[in-house]
């Protein structure tokens, strides 16, 4: 997908992260990142803070090391970045083994499932470099298998995460009220530096009672088998590219459009958009034929997908809306909206770029009075 170089109005720190998030694709971008990282005015504190906020610390570390900038970076910062990258690689290795353990147990019982998000993307979109941060392992199942999967997970030693949560009852009530996921599960392990492994099992591509959804049973049909790096002959099932794209985009939409994620400080970050950009780049042929558009129209999710892609194009100077022929979808009213609660949509005037960079997103409130949404 073509894209122009980002403008630098938000400072060199932010420009570096935008370039890394969307993926470096040519020599001019390599040089631009290099120049920005070695500029005298670079604020390392700001760069590191934003890299942490957007879960890009290992990616930044890898970029600095692969560009041989060892002596252009303050020594203590370089050493810390190096450690962070190594630790992320170690965590991914531990997560891979656990993913296979859970996947084999589910497959043994004939339960349809796929592995999603970080673990699925790390090898296919991020070249197994250990740069994609993930704090848990994600699976997708159908709602009818919720009880069977809980039984399997308990046999594997997992317990609801409530046991470790700061406010167990809050977590428990929240989980019961939102049955689009199983309660978050965790297991104590005995590995250096990693005390717990969290597993997040969804049974919806979006959220309970979402006006935008794709049936999970349909999405799970004909998964692709994806090799696990470093484990010869071992594969995990993942969504085929069209549903991988739809899930990733709709998941981003969920985190960005629902006000509750903004208020809890867990809404969308640069890397979520980075996943979408990479998915399009690597699956362009499969995403630009008529099947994707037909599926989106069948399930009425075209406007939600257009919401994400239009914000993405505005922020990252990509051309995804045009590429996927969605110019006529995603109206202005929806684009400038955010859902507060079922039936109520707030107006929202901020740009996605400004929102991503803001460090006080949790306190942001809509500027226009609430009105009944459609």
């Amino acid at each position: 997908m073509t894209r122009s170089l980002p403008d630098q109005s938000l400072g060199p720190e932010w420009t570096i992260l935008e370039l890394l998030a969307r993926g470096i694709i040519d020599d001019s971008e390599v040089q631009m990142v290099r120049d920005l990282l070695t500029t005298d005015t670079l604020k390392w504190g700001e760069l590191l803070e934003q890299a942490l906020r957007h879960k890009m610390f290992p990616m930044l570390a890898h970029q600095i090391m692969s560009a041989s900038l060892r002596f252009d970076v303050p020594t203590n910062i370089y050493m810390h970045l190096e450690s962070a990258l190594e630790w992320n690689r170690w965590q991914i290795e531990v997560f891979r083994r656990e993913t296979v353990r859970v996947a084999q147990a589910l497959a043994d019982r004939g339960i349809p499932f796929v592995v999603t998000k970080g673990m699925a993307f790390e090898s296919t979109l991020y070249d197994s470099l250990g740069t994609r941060y993930m704090n848990d392992i994600d699976f997708m199942i159908t709602p009818r298998d919720r009880d069977k999967v809980m039984t399997v997970m308990q046999k594997l030693g997992f317990r609801p995460f409530f046991d470790w949560a700061k406010d167990a009852r809050r977590e428990e009530i929240s989980s019961r009220l939102n049955p689009d996921h199983l309660p978050k599960l965790a297991r104590e392990i005995d590995q250096p530096g990693i005390r717990l492994i969290d597993i997040d099992i969804a049974n919806s591509l979006t959220w309970t009672k979402s006006p935008f959804d794709v049936p999970v049973e349909e999405a799970l049909e004909n998964p692709v088998e994806q090799p696990i790096p470093g484990m010869s002959g071992v594969n995990i099932p993942c969504f085929r590219p069209i549903y991988q794209f739809l899930f990733t985009v709709l998941h981003l939409f969920r985190e960005a459009w629902l006000q509750k994620f903004v208020e809890s400080g867990t809404d969308v970050g640069l890397m979520k958009f980075g996943d979408v950009i990479r998915l399009i780049d690597r699956n362009q042929n499969k995403l630009t034929d008529s099947e994707l558009l037909r599926i989106m129209q069948t399930h009425g999710v075209t406007d939600a997908v257009a919401w994400v892609l239009r914000h993405m194009d505005e922020t990252f100077h990509t051309h995804a809306v045009e590429l996927l022929a969605l110019e006529k979808h995603g109206n202005e009213k929806l684009l400038r909206s955010q859902m507060r609660s079922p039936g109520y949509v707030n107006a929202w005037s901020e740009s996605m770029r400004g929102r991503l960079q803001s460090k006080s997103r949790g306190s942001v409130r809509p500027v226009a009075p609430a009105h009944r949404g459609s």
Binding site: I173, S174, R176, N178, Q259, S341, P342
Partner: protein
Amino acid sequence: MDDITTQFEECLRRHLRSAKPNPINYDVELVQLGLDSMTAVAVLMDMEKTFGIRFPDDMLVEGTFRTAGRLKEAVQLLRERQAS
């Protein structure tokens, strides 16, 4: 059983912005008073703390708190169960 109306309404008003200046209409859906998925959790937790009850899993569904009337009935039922 004591009348819980005052405590119940105080509890709702702590979390629902639109309920604060007005009398609470027990038939109106709580989403119209500003309830969303986050405040729903906060309201239920506050009800549990205020009335010394615990919502069982089968009551942790949207129907329990669709309106103030439904929620008050649920709270009263749980208080009665606990007392008996």
